[in-house]
Symmetry: C2
Subunit: 346 residues, 2 copies
């Protein structure tokens, strides 16, 4: 079976198989990414990140359902979920109760759920996730929800993949991890306080708001904070320079288990999408992402090409001299590449 043709024709089994090839970085997987590339660039990538205990998996579930069954007159979207969170029920790390909750997505042909199994791949988790998202994009999913635990650098990298990043909080999780949150807030396009029926929700919102001001002082000069921000107003001047447009991350409240707040959340996500399109930021992010991908690939290929011309014996000898401290790493590189001096710009 030609998996690429299958994926483009909407075959779910082909899709699942091809994703496995891509995750394992097989030659077939690489060739498939090559062929699928011209079909990518259309999906809206939505990152959902936050600490364990915030209920973000339930929220992802709820957002997926909201896009499948719109309450207004918008058409239903095809939705994919990529879970890279080890504590997510999508990846199987959670309680039975959570798994049961996910069942109402199963069986819907407009939904595809994939958990990232391996963390060991060559380019790292963020590279693999980017590749899997490309396959889903080419397969025609309109919205791709990428769920991460939001703790490490690789999770931040994954969130950066997304066009729209949701950072999920919950009242009463303590502020011990404030230092971690700071970095996360910088990448937030929308802040969600889930479990908003819990005590302490006002404190959480206040803390988020002041952290947000620290993270985005340049954004906060415009309009009032949060939902009342400039982003919410109708655009009055179509000739206005795009640099004038500022997205102020709104803070929304949800109770995922009761389904409350999701209509407003979906509206905020769509508002952010409209902002990305009208401000030129969509193009800008695409450009940066492709540039990064190109750079990484260039590096890998340059090293591989160089490696083909070097004998194992020579490499071993240089490493041995390095270990004896006879050669510094820079001198070792000069010798291996047969250079008088390395370029200053490295």
């Amino acid at each position: 079976m030609d998996l690429v043709a299958g994926v483009l024709a909407g075959d779910r089994l082909a899709l699942a198989r091809l994703i496995t090839r891509v995750e394992n970085d097989t030659p077939e997987g690489r060739e498939a990414l090559n062929r699928l590339f011209s079909h990518t660039g259309r999906a809206h990538l939505i990152g959902v990140t936050g600490s364990p205990g915030t209920g973000k998996s339930s929220l992802v579930n709820l957002i997926a359902k909201a896009y499948r069954n719109p309450v207004d007159d918008t058409p239903p979207c095809k939705v994919a979920v990529v879970a890279v969170d080890p504590s997510s029920p999508f990846t199987g790390g959670a309680l039975l109760g959570d798994r049961v909750r996910m069942r109402d997505l199963a069986g819907d042909p407009g939904v595809f759920v994939r958990s990232m199994a391996s963390r060991g791949a060559l380019g790292g988790l963020s590279h693999t996730t980017a590749a899997v998202v490309q396959v889903l994009d080419a397969a025609g999913f309109d919205k791709i929800l990428i769920e991460t635990v939001g703790a490490g650098q690789s999770e931040v990298d994954i969130a950066r993949l997304a066009h729209t990043t949701l950072v999920v909080e919950a009242p009463g999780l303590g502020d011990d991890i404030q230092a971690i949150k700071a970095g996360i807030l910088e990448i937030a396009d929308i802040l969600v306080i889930n479990k908003a029926d819990r005590p302490g929700v006002e404190n959480t919102e206040r803390a988020l708001r002041s952290n947000l001001e620290l993270a985005h002082p340049e954004r906060m000069r415009f309009g009032s904070c949060g939902r009342g921000g400039k982003d919410n107003q109708p655009k009055t001047d179509l000739l206005q320079s795009s640099a004038d447009e500022i997205w102020v991350p709104p803070i929304l409240r949800t109770i995922a288990l009761q389904g409350s707040g999701v209509t407003e959340l979906k509206a905020a996500i769509e508002r952010h999408l409209a902002y990305l399109r009208s401000s030129g930021e969509w193009q800008q992010r695409e450009h940066e992402r492709l540039q990064t991908e190109l750079n990484q690939l260039l590096q890998a290929v340059l090293v591989a090409r160089w490696r083909e011309g070097v004998s194992d014996a020579e490499l071993r000898e240089v490493v041995a001299r390095l270990q004896e401290r006879e050669l510094s790493p820079l001198k070792a590189v000069e010798q291996l590449l047969d250079l008088d001096a390395v370029p200053e710009s490295y």
Copy 2:
């Protein structure tokens, strides 16, 4: 002033200045690393990682003092502290009370404290930290304590720099962040339960012990758990293969604010050092670290050398065609490098 000569002569001002050059990746900093390299490889690098709230900064303080003022007949060591933890009082993120506590290290010429200021450098935080540690190593510090917050991938990478990694816990921090801890435990050589006078210490130890068994099943087959492990026994057969030696991470209790438990902790650190030397793991880790450094430098230099031969116009054109989805990233690389096909091994 020749900063390199100053550093080798023990000049603290030269040391502080050179570290700044190295952090900023200036040509002078690179050249200095080159010259200092033959003086490196002697320091014992001790990573100390853990969540905020575990009191690991106080513990670092205490370990430094224990090495400065030994209670037994061992000579005092020269100690450097590199703090890459944004919540550490060494980096200035904490309360005044913490800063005061640190004062008893200040003024001691055998102690040098450095907090990592920038996260923005080219090779990332772990690259910069490795370079700073090399300077301190060449400057003759015997023990270099590297304090990290232990949350993200880059912090894990920094911990991997170390010969001996301490993971610090405290009772009553909740197990919400268990998913994060799992990855951290895999890198632990010694586990420390600080604030051991708090209620819940038994539960914390039990939880650590069972997580440890999950992280290191192969280690746990040997001897009993923790302090009673094989590592604690005198070596009976000097001809024994080094592969037979197994380090079982001990779990120790400390109360940093009262200074209790630090003698045992220092003994465990020294026991681990002896293990590294006798098992051949010290050499093995050195080898891996140098190999990684060589690979990263090779990549950077190969890209820089290639970039010198490519016009901005050609690069822009390829990126534009990439953005139009006319070229896939792989095809773009083939065109830029003038290859019929990229090597399969990339």
